[in-house]
Symmetry: C2
DNA sequence: TATACACTTGAAGAGTTTTGCAAGTGTTAG
DNA sequence: CTAACACTTGCAAAACTCTTCAAGTGTATA
């Protein structure tokens, strides 16, 4: 049996609340699912590169295709997935369709993860 | 007809008539790949919930299992994926193995995405 | 040492996703 | 109206991922 005498027991006693929900199982199942979908959409090298490219400015599909060297269909397909998660916004102008990051939150998230990924491995004292 | 301030509408066969900054990779390709892996690891509801749980404090596998009601194996498997992307850190103490978020960057990223996902749909002027 | 406990790992099956090509939609020019 | 251009979507094959169960590793205790 587990004896919690080892250390500060990680008991779920959260005495830092009076009228706010103290024991929220999660931040909200729906929000969690949306967040997971968002991460999953961004969790692909090709799509993440697309986001990174768009973070530098609005571009139309042809321009993106020219930049990455990929097929129009492939770009469009990826953009569709990104758009489904509201990561990018679409704007039509004449024959061209311009894409850009949906909002600054996306750019922020992008910056955060790229910064984290750019850093060398975090220091680990033991077992890694 | 397109309005006055047409952003150099690329109506010709060569749509690269823009005069914006150069478009090379701002982050290294390796960083991009790491970031994608990180997103992909977090892009699963079960794993994201794990991260959210751990953001509240360090826990051992049994405790997590008790909280989520999942099998030890399942938890361990997910934790492994999270650990492979350096999202969580492991610490052994006797028979127990404690997990926690790898660093504050992860907690930050988590907060950012959950905040974004918690918001209602962003207002869209047109095309949605 | 042997046993129980806590966790980890391997492997197979099910389910989901990515990809490439071809056909389809919307828009402007003639 | 027809043609060309820019992009989007459907479909089927291939690739990948998640879950589950059984067996394996490491640690503490009798």
């Amino acid at each position: 049996m587990i004896h919690d005498s080892d250390r500060s027991a990680p008991s779920e006693t959260t005495p830092h609340s009076h009228d706010h929900a103290p024991r929220r199982t999660t931040v909200g199942p729906a929000a969690l699912a949306r967040a997971a979908g968002l991460f999953r959409a961004a969790g692909d090298p090709a799509r993440l590169r697309l986001l990174e490219i768009l973070s530098q400015g609005e571009l139309c599909v042809s321009e993106v295709a020219a930049l990455t060297g990929d097929d129009l269909s492939a770009i469009s397909q990826r953009l569709r997935i990104l758009r489904a998660e509201h990561l990018v916004a679409r704007r039509r102008e004449g024959k061209h369709v311009f894409y850009a990051l949906a909002d600054s939150h996306v750019a922020d998230l992008l910056r955060a993860v790229l910064a984290h990924a750019s850093e060398p491995a975090a220091p680990h004292a033991d077992g890694d």
